[in-house]
Structures are given as structure tokens and as C-alpha cells.
């Protein structure tokens, strides 16, 4: 199948993109297009216009910036996975990127696109949530705001992003010395996570645990974190992995199974993070 007809415009700058988006509320941004184009081919999405931001110069950087690593929204999963800066300073991000989709998807799909799509089954939002990362959003008239991951991923395919705003940058803290783990449980290598767990532990900060595909948005496993803070061991703390979650039931797995899976995977992720 091919998409329904649409208009196409190439943005020369973020401001140009915002201008184009402001002129047409049914317009959509396309970067890599790997979330949007399959939906358009199935005609489940039919934007009136695509604003191609992929040619905007220098939005694919990955650079150290004080205590953070700043990642341009157009950095591809492939770039993120292979970034030496991230591998050293925040390895959970590069590791998670290396498992998104398949090599072809990683050659085109971008970190910004992944976040802006805000699919609860995506890996990167969960990792950003565990990291308490920030997302930099640009709007009309030069406006810029920085949003915490916990606020950005508002709901099912619902980022904190107005129709005329552009996600410009993702800022992740350096985790040097902290243990980490991202476990993605899936049936086939190319599939989305049935359940995913991001965990950070030790050395400068309390343990952080976040879950993929356990609700309408990525979730912090607050019960687990609380138990760990109270001195519980991973196995005990992991028993609270499904607290406050509302996992879906679909042909991949029932909600009940996902709850149990979350417990098993949280324990494994914590154990891995504590020795890494």
C-alpha cells in the first residue's frame, strides 16, 4: 500500500519547520519517518502535509555538555548506538538504541522521532524516564522550553508537544560509575518490547527503574524504587514491579503475563545493574 496524498515541504531550519507547522494544523513532522510512514501506508495516519526536518543542519550532534550529554533530535539510532561519548558517559542510552527495530530502521530512525511518537512500547522513552532526562522543545517566536521525561511522555502516542512545536534536543545525565541495565523482552529480534525494563543502580543516586509497555506511557516502577530505598534486595523489591501499572492485553501477551514478566525482568535488570 502507499500513503494517501499529501503536501510536502522541506524545512531549512527549526524556525522554518515551526512556521510550516503553524500554517497547517494537520501537518506532521517527518524525520526518519519510521514510525509515521508505516501508519500512512496502512492509511491509519493521513497528514495533510509532511514537514521534512531531516535536512536541518546540525541537529544530529551528540556532545558532552557539563554534566550532561546533549543529543540532537535528528541523531539516528545507529549514531546513538555507536556514539563513543554515550558509550562512555551514558551507556544505557547507546545500548538501548542498538536494540531498536533492526539495522535498516536504526540507519534512518531518529531519537527525536522515537520520543515524539511517544509509543509506550518504545525503548528510548523508558530509558530517558529512568535517567530523568530532559527534552528541549522549540516553539513559535523563538520560544524554547525544557521538559523532564516524566512530563514529556504524557500518554498513549501523546507527547507534551503542540502541533507547532519541534523536539530539538534530548539531554541525558552522565551516569559514569553507575550500574545500568536495559532488558527488552520480545518474541522476535525486530519486535517491540512485550515488556522492557531500564534500571540504574549505585554510585551517586538512588536506584531508578522504569518500564516499557506496562501502561499508556513509560512508567517508573515506584514500588520497586521505594522498596530498594528501604533496603530490600532486588528479588524482594522486584515483586512490586507491577504496582501502578496498567499493561495492555494483546496477541503478544495478556496483562497478567506482562505483570509477572515485569517482576522477573526487574529483578534481572537490578541484579545486572548492580554488578555492571
Amino acid at each position: 500500500m502507499i500513503p494517501a496524498p499529501f503536501e510536502y515541504a522541506r524545512a531549512e531550519s527549526i524556525d522554518h519547520a515551526i512556521e510550516l507547522l503553524s500554517a497547517d494544523e494537520d501537518a506532521k513532522i517527518i524525520a526518519g519517518g519510521h514510525s509515521l510512514l508505516p501508519l500512512m501506508r496502512l492509511r491509519l495516519a493521513r497528514p495533510s502535509m509532511l514537514v521534512d526536518v531531516s535536512r536541518i543542519g546540525d541537529l544530529s550532534y551528540i556532545r558532552q555538555d557539563d554534566d550532561e550529554v546533549a543529543i540532537g533530535a535528528l541523531a539516528r539510532h545507529h549514531d546513538v548506538a555507536n556514539s563513543e561519548a554515550l558509550q562512555q558517559l551514558c551507556p544505557i542510552v547507546s545500548y538501548a538504541a542498538s536494540g531498536i527495530g533492526d539495522p535498516q530502521v536504526r540507519h534512518v530512525g531518529t531519537i527525536g522521532g522515537s520520543c515524539a511518537h511517544s509509543d509506550p512500547a518504545s525503548d528510548m522513552p523508558t530509558v530517558l524516564l529512568a535517567l530523568d532526562a530532559s527534552l528541549v522543545v522549540r516553539g513559535p517566536n523563538g520560544a524554547s522550553r525544557t521538559v523532564k521525561a516524566a512530563d514529556f511522555f504524557k500518554g498513549l502516542f501523546e507527547p507534551d508537544l503542540a502541533s507547532n512545536e519541534v523536539l530539538a534536543e534530548i539531554r541525558v545525565p552522565k551516569t559514569t560509575g553507575r550500574g545500568w541495565s536495559y532488558i527488552k523482552f520480545h518474541r522476535r529480534a525486530q519486535d517491540w518490547a512485550l515488556v522492557g525494563v531500564a534500571a540504574l543502580a549505585g554510585n551517586g543516586g538512588g536506584p531508578a527503574v522504569a518500564l516499557t509497555n506496562m501502561g499508556e506511557r513509560p512508567l517508573r516502577a515506584a514500588g520497586v524504587e521505594e522498596a530498594l530505598a528501604g533496603g530490600a534486595d532486588p528479588a524482594t523489591a522486584a515483586q512490586r514491579a507491577d504496582e501502578g501499572t496498567s499493561p495492555p492485553s494483546d496477541p503478544f501477551g495478556s496483562a497478567e503475563y506482562r505483570r509477572e514478566l515485569a517482576k522477573v525482568l526487574v529483578r534481572r535488570a537490578l541484579e545486572e545493574a548492580m554488578v555492571r
Binding site: I2, R187, R188, D250, P251, G253, Y257, L265
Partner: protein, 788 residues
């Protein structure tokens, strides 16, 4: 020209068909186009069951590039009859009427209700969305046992969804089912599968209006059967209809069919006098191309305390889908002949009930009935072993039929050509290191490892080489089971084979060339194999049911024999000796006792062509046609061993090793045979662990794209360890048996048995396929619950 001394049969000759496929020069259906061609797209029902109160095509007709929109009513005059169904397996079978477009009611999600013609692919897809159908949604039923209650009747004229009942009629002493000391009953539910040839279907219809001559290019396994049957549906004389199967990107049974779109393309080409092209999308393929399996089995195994199987009794419910496609109710019946497997059982009973549901029609999917049979038998044998506390290998070993080299009757009534089941069985266990695996398994259990080891066995026989025409007639199949081949020896030393079977990945071009090369004293490169075009090889019954090597190849063999006899007459004439004084070896005739007096086939092809000096009555040219009707089926067999690791906390199973030892009779090209097993086994692993077509309660296909119908990738399967035994078939002159379906027949029970074996120490005795992580996990939880 000197004849070639090298022998090619039995060698891993590299494929002649590869160069175009490797360089992007292949001619798949979507690569073909014709001047003036229009694109066809089908408007399909979004509902599994709905009345059609009206169809408004006006806005679609007004869209840019749209050349026409047609409903069932618009096309009523085009049809000579409904879509073909050629296997009414019983006298009283109820046959749903199946038109290319449905008129008053849609009976499955994807049922075609209108068709659009437009200048481009995109315009056709746009117009489909603009056709407005006034639907009246009806209650739908996709569950077999629910459908059998007839609370929702899908075809009102039939009055019931229970459309056919067929029984094998039993074999042997049925009293064992009452008298046996051990009786095990099991129920197995096998979901529907979607075949997933990576090339979707497609066709391109062309017409010469002045001559009334039609050509249909179609991604089909069966150009010859399509020609006869589409001629009937479309009211085109067979003599005016040519079907061409270009390069076909995989079939697995899904292209062993005649589909509505082929008939629609022909009818619309006739209506518009322009070529009509249709290419299926993958989403459409999941709805509109046949599904496989979809059965429920109630199984009874009668045995002694020692584990000797006395009888096997099977009652099956089979999902027909909303209509019959070409063979639909014949598929369970095909399996009905192999439920005893390779075992020496005294009693046998098989029957099935076919039920219509609001779902895509089912039909032949790789193995067609025989995987269903092998699955339940091999699961039940493991259940028997568990019940008796015996090793499943030991139970199989004491039940295998001893080796036999001549055809002999089996308990189900048909003659089995030959077999040495213990040979493949023992070799498979040896290759797997069965005893060492059991030791490792015990150690892991002892250690309470998170990853437990499971070992699964599957011994199978299959019935291939469809088929003796007289038996097909007795089974009420409409056509015969012969096949045909023409061999032409050209004066330039090259050879042309025109054969009635046509491959879609199986490497026939190479295999047939190897055989002809050996007989005619040339190389495979000297042999052109033409197929898949009813104008080039007008006689044929096509490729399905592992029949090409055992039937088509036998026709080739006999055509080569005819060439030899004709050439012998000419050689005797040229060498001025009696025919009896000639010896034939590797493509040449030598005068006995005078080895320098020689005429090669290639020499004789020249003199037969110019015919300047031929014996009286000799027809010029070295050309011969043979038609072969097999006297029996062929019966390949083998044993597969699957080794899995199961994570008992998540339920996820990973295949660690897979060993297949098969006996497909004489092997012509071992490289190609191995490739067939690799692919078949992978489809079997997919069936066992990954794939399942899921419908919701309203009859919506939930696994509607490749993102949620899980065709496995290279990551999910291992490399395979293969070996073979060769027990020549007595059915055909070269002793071949067929290998296309063995993998999908053998693998599913080997894998599921392995998964159950991995967790059986936790009390698990049953897991349905596919053994998804959740099913395995649930089974472990259930067993724990039972123990508590």
C-alpha cells in the same frame, strides 16, 4: 560432438536459476507491465459478517484516474460459473457458492464486494476508500465448536455450518480401543496459520480482442489447473486462454489455488479491452489468501503396558473458512492417511467434520493435512511415554515398522512404497547425542537452573507424489494426477525440456537438467528447462504435494527413454548394425565389440533434424513426449530431534539445536534437498513457537500485519544438522520420494515435545502450539497450582 562423461545426478550442482535472481533481473509478477495497463484494487469487507444493503460507487467513479468501479451486480453477466472448487470429497457434501465478488452478504473480513480500475496503483487505492458500502453488521462466528451449533448460519441456503463429514472407514481390529490395557485421550487445538510467501500474489490479464485470446500472467503454482478452471469461471474456452506463471516468489500452497482476483482481472480485461494488473498488499494477503491448519483433534491411543501401540483413533474438526477454495475439505482428508505414522499399529480410525466459519478460507499450506496428523500422533506418543514413565525414544523404537523394500499395505488401507524407519530414527538419536542430552537435562534439573533443557522427537511418514489418477478419482477429486514432459534434442547439441510442473524456488530447472544431462551425455548447462506457460508446456498438473520429483520427473525419465529408443533406431541405421548390437552408455551408442563405432545423442540430433538419411518410417527430429501416471504415492519418512532451552521464569523457549534425518528416496541434488529441509523445518519451528492467526470475537483478524504475525527471522532459528538415508521408492523409475514438505510435517511436534519435555519435571503435560512464552509460563503456573 563428444559426449560428457561426468555424472550429475546425486551431485550438489549449483543452480542454473540463480543468476537472474541474484542480480535483480528476475521476472516476478509485479515486474511485468503492458501498454495501456490499468491497476485493479479490491474493495473488501471490514466486517467478518455483514449484509450489504447498498453500494455507492459514484464518488469513487469521479476520482482522478478512475476508469471504472464494479460491484457483483455489475459483473453478473461475466461468469460462466462460480470460483472453482474441485474436491467434493463426499456425495452429500454441502458446497457454499463462491462468486468472485459477493453480492448480498460478506462472510469474512476481506471478502471482496467491489473492484476499482484506475490509471495508477495509488489512484486505485484512493478510490477503494471512496466506495461507500451500506453495511448491516451481523453476528460472526470464528470458533469451530461455536459455529457447529448453527446459532449463526453463514450460508443460509445450506442451512448449516456443518458442511461435510468424512471418515476413512477404519482399518484393523477396532476392538483394541475397548480392550487395550492402556488408553490415553488427548485434545489438541491447532490455530490457523498464514502461509507468508514473501512475494504476495498478483496477476496481469491481457486480451487480444480481435482474436478473443486471453493471457493471464499470475503468481501461481498451478498454471494448468488455473487454465481449465478459470476458463470455466470466466466463460473462456480453454483453447483461448494462456496462463503464464513467471518467476514466482514462493508458494507453500498459498498459490496452489485459483482466486477471485484472477477471474476479476480476466473479466475486466474483457470488459474494458485493456490489460488489468492487480498486486496484493501484505495486509490484503493476510485476509484474502488462504490460511492453513485451524483444526481441533480428539485423539485416542490404545497401548500395552510396555508401550506397544495397538491403535490410534482420531476425530477432527476442521475449519473450512467462509467458502471453499480449490481443495479446502480435501486437506484434512489428505492427512487422514498418515495418522499411524511409521508405527506398526493394529487398528486405525480417522474421521473429520468440516465447519464453515466467518474467516478466510483455508486450504493447502505446506504439508496440507500431514503436519496436522503428524503433530497429534507425535504429541500422543509422548503423552503415552509420560503416562508409562518411559523414555519417549524407547516407546518409538519398539513401535517402528521394520524395514521393507517392496510396497506393502498399511493398516489404513493404502500400499506404502518402501521404508527403513529404524535407520533414520537411530541415526537421528546418534547425531543428536541423545543420551548425553538426557544427562545434561538431569543435571540442569538437579541444579534447578532457570534455563531447563528439553529434547523432543518426531518420527513421521508422509504421503507424497500426488497421485495415482485412479485413486484420485475414487477420492472424488476432479482431476488426474499424471504429469508430462517433452524432451527436444536440438541440432546444435543443446536440449530443451518442457515440463508440466513449475517451481517457485525449488530448483527444478537445475534438478531436471542434471537428469537429462546424464542420460543424453551433455552438461546441465546444455539443458534449458521451460515450464509455467501453458502455451509452451500445454500438458501438466503443476507443482504441489511434493509431486514434481516423483511424478513430473518420472515423465521426464520416460521421455528420455523414448528419445533413447528413437536415437537407437537411427544409430543402428547409420552404423549399419542391428539395434540389438548397440550398447548405450552416457549419451552414446557403441557397437558391441567395436567401441570406435559410436554415435552420440548429440550427433544423432543433427541427423534426425536434417533427416537426409533416416530409416523408413522414422519421424524427423529427436523429440519425445511422455505422460506419467504414478502407480502409487511415495512415502518419505524420517526422524527429527529438537533441543530447546526454556527459561522457566519467562516461559521463553529457544531452539538450541535441530537434527533432521530424512529419507526421501534417491537424491538427485543433495544441496537442493538440504535447502528444502532447512526451509521446511524453519516453517515448522515457526508453527511450533511463533505463528498463529488470531481472530477476535467479532471476527477481526488481530494478527493483521507482519508486525504481529510472527514470521521468525534468522535470530530465532539455529543452523541445522542434517543427514539422510536413501530407501528407493518403488513407485517411480528413479526411486525418488519428494522432500518439499518433510520439514513442516516433522518439526512442529519435535519442537513442542521438546518444550514440554523441558518443563515436564515441573508437572507440565500439555502446551498448545504455538508454545508462546505466555503459554509455557501459564502451563508452569498451572502445574504448580495443581501440585499445591
Amino acid at each position: 560432438m563428444a559426449q560428457v562423461k561426468e555424472r550429475f545426478v546425486g551431485q550438489p550442482v549449483l543452480r542454473k536459476e540463480d543468476p537472474e535472481l541474484l542480480t535483480g533481473q528476475a521476472r516476478y509478477i509485479d515486474n511485468l507491465s503492458l501498454p495501456g495497463m490499468m491497476w485493479m484494487a479490491v474493495v473488501r469487507s471490514p466486517f467478518a459478517h455483514a449484509g450489504i444493503k447498498g453500494i455507492d460507487t459514484s464518488s469513487a467513479k469521479a476520482m482522478p484516474g478512475v476508469l471504472g468501479v464494479f460491484t457483483a451486480a455489475d459483473l453478473e453477466g461475466e461468469w460462466g460459473g462460480p470460483l472453482p472448487f474441485v474436491w467434493p470429497i463426499t456425495e452429500d457434501i454441502k458446497v457454499p457458492v463462491h462468486w468472485p465478488l459477493t453480492k448480498d452478504r460478506a462472510r469474512f473480513q476481506g471478502d471482496g464486494v467491489a473492484v476499482v480500475l484506475a490509471e495508477t496503483r495509488g489512484q486505485a487505492e484512493d478510490a477503494v476508500e471512496a466506495v461507500h458500502v451500506d453495511w448491516e453488521p451481523l453476528a460472526a462466528v470464528t470458533d469451530l465448536e461455536e459455529a457447529a451449533k448453527d446459532e449463526v448460519v453463514i450460508h443460509e441456503d445450506l442451512g448449516t455450518n456443518v458442511v461435510v463429514h468424512w471418515s476413512h472407514g477404519g482399518g484393523g481390529d477396532q476392538s483394541v480401543f475397548e480392550m487395550a490395557p492402556v488408553k490415553i485421550t488427548e485434545r489438541y487445538v491447532a490455530p490457523r496459520l498464514i502461509p507468508n510467501a514473501i512475494e504476495p500474489r498478483g496477476c496481469l490479464a491481457d486480451l487480444n480482442p480481435a482474436m478473443g485470446e486471453f493471457t493471464l500472467y499470475s503468481a501461481t503454482q498451478i498454471p494448468h489447473i488455473a487454465r481449465v478452471t478459470l476458463g470455466g469461471t470466466c466463460g473462456i474456452p480453454e483453447s483461448k486462454l494462456r496462463i503464464v506463471a513467471p518467476d514466482v516468489g514462493g508458494g507453500f500452497g498459498s498459490k496452489l489455488n485459483v482466486y477471485a482476483e484472477e477471474a476479476l482481472a480476466l473479466a475486466l480485461a474483457r470488459r474494458t479491452k485493456r490489460p488489468v494488473k492487480w498486486i496484493e498488499t501484505r495486509s490484503e494477503n493476510y485476509l484474502a489468501t488462504i490460511h492453513g491448519r485451524g483444526v481441533i483433534h480428539d485423539v485416542e491411543i490404545a497401548a500395552t503396558e510396555e508401550g506397544k501401540i495397538l491403535g490410534f483413533r482420531v476425530k477432527e474438526l476442521a475449519d473450512m473458512g467462509a467458502y471453499y477454495q480449490l481443495l479446502t475439505p480435501g486437506i484434512p482428508e489428505l492427512g487422514g492417511w498418515v495418522y499411524m505414522g511409521p508405527y506398526d499399529v493394529q487398528a486405525y480410525w480417522y474421521e473429520f467434520t468440516g465447519i464453515v466459519t466467518n474467516a478466510t478460507p483455508t486450504d493447502a499450506y505446506r504439508g496440507a493435512g500431514r503436519p496436522e496428523a503428524t503433530y497429534v500422533l507425535e504429541r500422543a506418543v509422548d503423552a503415552l511415554a509420560r503416562h508409562l514413565g518411559k523414555d519417549p525414544a524407547e516407546v518409538r523404537r519398539i513401535n517402528l515398522v521394520p524395514p521393507f523394500g517392496e510396497a506393502k499395505p498399511s493398516v489404513m488401507g493404502l500400499n506404502v512404497d518402501s521404508g527403513d524407519y529404524p535407520a533414520t530414527f537411530e541415526r537421528a538419536l546418534e547425531l543428536a547425542g541423545y543420551d548425553e542430552l538426557r544427562t545434561e537435562q538431569a543435571a540442569r534439573r538437579q541444579r534447578r537452573d532457570v534455563k531447563q533443557l528439553g529434547i523432543g522427537l518426531s518420527s513421521y511418514i508422509e504421503m507424497c507424489g500426488l497421485a495415482p489418477s485412479n485413486i484420485l478419482g475414487a477420492l472424488r477429486y476432479a482431476a488426474g494426477g499424471w504429469d508430462a514432459c517433452t524432451v527436444q534434442c536440438l541440432p546444435d547439441g543443446k536440449v530443451v525440456l518442457k515440463i508440466g510442473t513449475s517451481p517457485h524456488g525449488q530448483g527444478h530447472v537445475t534438478t531436471w537438467a542434471q537428469i537429462a544431462a546424464d542420460t543424453l551425455g551433455v552438461t546441465p548447462d546444455d539443458v534449458e528447462v521451460l515450464h509455467g506457460d501453458t502455451s509452451i508446456s500445454p500438458l501438466g498438473m503443476d507443482t504441489y504435494g511434493s509431486r514434481s520429483a516423483s511424478v513430473g520427473q518420472a515423465a521426464l525419465f520416460h521421455a528420455l527413454e523414448k528419445i533413447k529408443e528413437k536415437a537407437r533406431t537411427l544409430a543402428a541405421h547409420e552404423l549399419e548394425v542391428a539395434e540389438d548390437d548397440l550398447e548405450f552408455e552416457q549419451g552414446a551408442f557403441h557397437v558391441r565389440g567395436a567401441p570406435d563405432k559410436v554415435r552420440s545423442i548429440t550427433d544423432l540430433a543433427v541427423s534426425a533434424w536434417h533427416a537426409h538419411s533416416v530409416p523408413a518410417g522414422f519421424e524427423p527430429n529427436l523429440e519425445a513426449t511422455a505422460v506419467f501416471d504414478p502407480p502409487n504415492f511415495t512415502w518419505p519418512a524420517g526422524t527429527h530431534v529438537c533441543v530447546v532451552e526454556v527459561d522457566i521464569q519467562t516461559g521463553q523457549a529457544q531452539v538450541r539445536a535441530y537434527i533432521a534425518v530424512d529419507d526421501c528416496g534417491v537424491v538427485i541434488n543433495p544441496m537442493i534437498v538440504d535447502g528444502q529441509i532447512h526451509g521446511g523445518v524453519t516453517q515448522g519451528i515457526a508453527e511450533a513457537l511463533f505463528e498463529e492467526a488470531v481472530y477476535d470475537a467479532e471476527g477481526n483478524l488481530m494478527t493483521s500485519t507482519m508486525t504481529n504475525y510472527l514470521v521468525p527471522s534468522a535470530v530465532e532459528v539455529p543452523s541445522f544438522q542434517l543427514d539422510r538415508r536413501e530407501t528407493p521408492s518403488t513407485t517411480n523409475p528413479m526411486g525418488v520420494k519428494g522432500i518439499g514438505e518433510a520439514g513442516t510435517i516433522a518439526a512442529p511436534p519435535a519442537v513442542v515435545n521438546a518444550v514440554i519435555d523441558a518443563v515436564s519435571h515441573l508437572g507440565v503435560t500439555h502446551i498448545e502450539k504455538p508454545a508462546t512464552p505466555e503459554r509455557v509460563w501459564s502451563a508452569i503456573q498451572g502445574a504448580k497450582g495443581g501440585a499445591a
